[in-house]
């Protein structure tokens, strides 16, 4: 069976559609990144965060160093001794915060895995 190529204008129109889509996605990535890229809304704990890179390091995920920018020793000083000590030891071991904490599951969601698993 012989191969019958598509009309040339088909590829031109397809390219135009892809360029328009790309432009729209590029605009959205700067103006409404959560709507275009996030798997869900941020919880009410973090809904004041406006920039994705406050928590996400490009191609490296959510590193503890990003969390510590806000959740520093000063903030933990207000917590119970057990909570502060647990987090201090946990971070000293070089572990990731995302081992117990998650996000982007909606405004009313819990963000601590231990709490989620207890249900």
């Amino acid at each position: 069976m012989a191969f019958h190529p598509l009309p040339r204008h088909t590829y031109r129109i397809t390219t135009l559609i892809i360029v328009c889509l790309g432009a729209w996605i590029a605009w959205g990535s700067f103006n409404q990144p959560e709507a275009f890229w996030a798997p869900g809304h941020l919880s009410h704990y973090h809904n004041q965060i406006k920039h994705c890179t406050d928590c996400h390091t490009p191609f490296r995920g959510t590193l503890a160093v990003n969390c510590i920018n806000c959740h520093d020793a000063e903030q933990f000083a207000g917590a119970t001794t057990t909570v502060a000590e647990f987090h201090y030891i946990y971070l000293a071991q070089g572990k990731s915060c995302s081992g117990c904490h998650t996000e982007h599951h909606g405004g009313a969601s819990w963000i601590t895995t231990a709490i989620l698993n207890s249900f």
Binding site: M1, A2, F3, H4, L6, P7, T10, Y11, I13, T14, I17, I18, L21, G22, I25, G28, A35, F36, W37, A38, P39, G40, H41, C52, H56, T57, P58, F59, R60, G61, T62, T102, H104, H105, T113, L116, N117, F119
Partner: protein
């Protein structure tokens, strides 16, 4: 109800049942994990597996363009159809009904469009082939062999205007789907890490 309408209804019900089943599977998998299956490591792996199977569907169009002596790669067409259904099915389980990220949703819609137009195209080709029955009679009277007649009719069916119109929808949609999928993968790796 005519045979064609009955066939159309059966295919539509099968497609809907398949989509719902995939989402039920994802829902059950998400229950045990307390968050969407797609956000778990097995969910990500299923996405990669679905992509690998979908990429196999592109072998047939490539072979069709480069086949020696215009031989139709029938076996690769069978693989194209099988992977064109199985791959999207796995992606449906990977995504579930968690439609939030715009780029991922667009890629999913494009994928659905490609799969469904693929099923429609098979039907259109079959209908086009059936309308060539009188052509078959002519070719038989010309003394051609059975294989030559089948190949000529397949060729004529592919050139039939409705089938050509369908190709103009299915092929560009597949290209747009791949571009959106690449963007989705880059985005997922950008935010979640390599």
């Amino acid at each position: 109800m005519s045979p064609l309408n009955r066939r159309f209804l059966l295919i539509t019900i099968t497609i809907l049942a398949t989509i719902i089943s995939a989402w039920v599977v994802e829902f059950l998998l998400s229950l045990s994990a307390h968050w969407p299956f797609a956000h778990s490591q097995p969910g990500h792996i299923l996405g990669w597996l679905g992509l690998a199977i979908i990429l196999l569907t592109f072998v047939y169009p490539w072979k069709k363009r480069h086949a020696p002596s215009g031989n139709w790669p029938r076996q690769w067409f069978m693989i194209h159809m099988l992977c064109g259904v199985l791959g999207p099915l796995l992606i449906l389980v990977h995504s579930g009904w968690h439609l939030h990220a715009g780029v991922a949703v667009l890629a999913l819609l494009a994928m659905g469009g490609v799969a469904i137009t693929g099923i429609i195209g098979k039907t259109i080709h079959r209908v086009a082939l059936q309308t060539l029955i009188s052509q078959r009679r002519e070719l038989t009277e010309q003394g051609l062999s059975q294989e030559q007649i089948e190949q000529t009719l397949d060729d004529l069916a592919s050139q039939e205007s409705l089938f050509r119109m369908w190709q103009v929808i299915h092929v560009p949609l597949a290209i747009i789907f791949m571009v959106l999928t690449i963007l989705h993968i880059i985005g997922a790796l950008f935010f979640a890490g390599l």
